[in-house]
Amino acid sequence: MTKCGVSVLTTGDEDEVSSCYEEHEWGKNRVKGREKEREKKKRGNARKKGASRAGRGDEELEERAERGEKGRRRRKRDNHDGKGRERDEEEQAEEKSGRAQEERDTEEGDAKRKKKNESAKREEKKEDGGKRAVKEKANAVKTKKHKKKSSEEEDVEEEEEEEKEKELRPESLSPEELEKLKEAVDEKKKLIQTLRGKPWPMKKKLSTLRESQEFLEKYEGALGKGKGRRLYAYKVMMTKKWMKFQRDFENFKTACIPWEMKIKEIESHFGSSVASYFIFLRWMYGINMILFGLTFGLVMVPEALMGRPYGSMPRKTVPRADEASAMDFAVLWDFGGYAQYSVLFYGYYNNQRAIGWLKFRMPLSYFLVGVGTVAYSYMVVIRTMARNANESGGGDDNSFNFSWKMFTSWDYLIGNPETADNKFASITTSFKEAILEEQESRKDDNIHLTRFLRVLANFLVMCCLAGSGYLIYFVVRRSQKFALDGLDNHSWWERNEVNMVMSLLGMFCPMLFDVISTLENYHPRIALQWQLGRIFALFLGNLYTFIIALMDEINLKRKEEEIVKFNMTVWEASLYNGTVPENSTAPPVTIHPADVPRGPCWETMVGQEFVRLIISDTMTTYITLLIGDFLRAVLVRFLNYCWCWDLEAGFPSYSEFDVSGNVLGLIFNQGMIWMGAFYAPCLPALNVLRLHVSMYLQCWAVMCCNVPQERVFKASGSNNFYMAMLLVILFLSTLPAIYTIVTIPPSFDCGPFSGKSRMFDVIQETLESDFPAWFSKVFSYASNPGLVLPFLLLMVLAIYYLQSTSKSFKEANVELKKKLQMARKAMTQAAEQQSNNNASPQAQKGEARSFLWWSEIGSSGIHGKKKKKKETFRALCKDLNVLL
């Protein structure tokens, strides 16, 4: 190293430095005689160089000799490459180890070298007229292109050569050279773009960047002639501006992401798995924001601004009987009274086809927003799933189980000593487990007992699920009876029984499941999956029992509606007969809308039920958070001073943050929103509020009263699992909503679709009255079964085709993997052979390796896109070059 330093100081020439690298490398490989010889040569060269500083006359000669030397060296090395692959590898390794020092050296000499280099060049040019240098350079570039560009060192050389290219005068160049210059410029540009992805120290990157930019500024404008030049310069300027704008925009975008700092803080304390919950929460918040925007902007606001005002018609007025209590807090809290007769619920909307001076088609808008909500949700969820699957594509093979545990298990985000300790422990156990599993497939000491216990556990869980289902059904039926009696006669508990029971079940059943699952003695990860599956089943069962009970209630209401309808006609008749018996044409103006009898409006009832459910669910979540986490933490913290055992380490301790449970809660909450949003347009708004509050509340609770999990799970594996659950829930929750929309006729006196036989008739109506006749004709042709059926068939066929191709890809993938393993075996054999006789293993080994890389190209190409494939191909070629 010292030698190198000296040579830099004495000659200061770039070439010398690069040769000095080699010297250093080769110096490490001290066995080879040839290298020594070369070293000598180089040193001689250096000496010569030093001498030439005295007499600058032979500068040019020197330079040429230098070049010849370089070429020879290159050739020699190529030779060398062909001969000893193994040695080459070693060299590569050396290179890497030495890189840090080398780079440091480069920096040291950088400034000096550049100056000298340039001055030397200038002199050369004076003598040479520049022209020859150009030619030579072109040659150099060409040879360089043939060479492989793999190691760092060559990058350095590249730079150096590009630096020389700076000396060209654009005016004196022929078109070909211009072309070359253009290429160089493009290369520079590419270099600038990829610079951030290079593992160099900043100083080197900075100097390279500045050089390249200088180069670009100098020559970019020179490219192109006359008019073209100006245009070119303009284009360049615009691209620069555009880049800057893009960068600023990127900065702006990252600054706009809400709660970034909060999540980062949590990330650093609890690792990435807890943070993944909050990221999920934020994502959910974004979706709900959009749903809220849709319903609020297209349904609620237009109705509030342009629709008929409150009190103008029966459906928009609180009935006379309820007027006295309509403003009571208890009633409003239940979303009765004035809340019920407002834009928050379905029943308030009028069936007037177009409202306001904008002629806003309210019923149509209502229907389309309902459909759009569902469609948008599907789109977002599926898109996210696809993206996640792409990102983690191919991550499911287990061929690098140990290496991944070793190299990627540390979560660098962890900044909390306690979390770090937990992480240490969990990594150790995972190592030990893996070793155990590797050593022997664990022998079960008493397989019958475990089996029995597992069956028993599942039986218990089934009992729990059935019990909770029955309980909900029972409670809902009871509440219907209460509702028939009138709500005033019952206590608060009896009125809110359904929601409370559902929330309490959701709270306690998971704990029960947790206890039961200890019977089963599963591996923690499998246990977690079972637990999640059970909670999912519980929630789903509860939700569906609730819906079935609601359906019963809807039927009841519809019967009631029939009666009311009949009574209405009687009442109207009596009204007409009573007030104006002779003159029936005069309208009965005196009736106040509050006095008009009305139907039960089952849609509003459904909406109310869902809103109440959401509210009580939110409340229980917050209260469990406050009691279960905060109060517990406070008690543990302060009672610990005067308690007989250690509360912090012992039994109650602090609570952990339950990622999976929280995610499940979030998912089900969202399911309820999707289900109820059609009948209560306020639901997305409520949910946005809820998520907003829970973001702050949970962030605070996590930071102040939770301890990091003992079993730390990876965030990445579960992401798509949650998404899949969300998709299932989305499907299951839109099912009943769509069923009610399609099969049940809307109420006759409330809501935007009143008076129609089905809700979707609004489409038909719009087509008939708002579009030209030919359009509805086309539409009716298009909706003809003769057209729809073949279309559906086509889609099914397309799906089948896509699936079969993906299947065949998968098979090919497996096949390639097999080949990979075979290649590996072949290589092991080769290695063994090599240890036996050192004579001719190279060919075999090389074969095996090339085979390995090629099969890898194939396997990565299969699930990647074309571009990705190209990239991997390029990278692998590079690797191949290095290795062979």
Partner: protein, 189 residues
């Protein structure tokens, strides 16, 4: 904010943005944190270095078992004392940032794991790595037998050319298939 911006210089700032995976805000924040760590007399110097000891006090690095390695890898100091200049610090943050590529992340991960700086992960490096991962206390340490088994398994999996060590391309080959690496190889200020 305004003062830090003027300290850094607009051109330099945009160059840093060009050369790292960091946004403007992150660079400014990094600069703020960096100057907080500087002692008074160092601030007057043109290109101050922070000694490794004070870098390790950063809460983001405090509980990282590889903190010293990280400093050594990113340090450009001649003394090999792991001290960092601001630019080294930016390099560190850039490699650990959210948007850094897998390639650069795996490159630096390799150098961090390469404890003896010889360009390959040999048995000694892997042992040290395991010890780092299992913590300093004795009850979490692996027994020599387990250690041997583990390292054998790792070499069996990732040592493709069977030379007894894992080199950079083998390492990157393994890492590039891991689903967790990019999301966990992150440090955020």
């Amino acid at each position: 904010m305004g003062t830090t911006a003027s300290q850094l210089g607009k051109d330099l700032l945009s160059e840093y943005q060009e050369l790292t995976f960091l946004t403007k805000q992150e660079i400014l924040l990094a600069h703020k944190r960096f100057t907080e760590l500087l002692s008074k007399e160092d601030k007057a110097l043109p290109n101050p270095r922070i000694p490794m000891q004070s870098i390790l006090t950063l809460p983001e690095l405090k509980s990282n078992p590889f903190r010293k390695r990280i400093c050594h890898v990113f340090s450009t100091s001649d003394m090999k004392d792991g001290s960092l200049t601001f630019e080294d610090f930016l390099d560190l943050l850039s490699a650990f940032s959210d948007s850094a590529t897998l390639e650069i992340k795996s490159h630096y991960a390799f150098r961090i794991f390469d404890f003896d700086d010889d360009g390959t992960l040999d048995v000694g490096d892997l042992e040290k790595l395991v010890n780092c991962l299992t913590g300093e206390t004795d009850d979490t340490r692996l027994t020599p037998d387990e250690m041997r088994q583990l390292i054998n398994n790792i070499l069996e999996e990732s040592d493709i050319d069977k030379d007894g060590t894992v080199n950079l391309s083998e390492f990157q080959h393994v890492i590039s298939r891991s689903p967790d690496f990019v999301s966990s190889f992150k440090i955020v200020l």
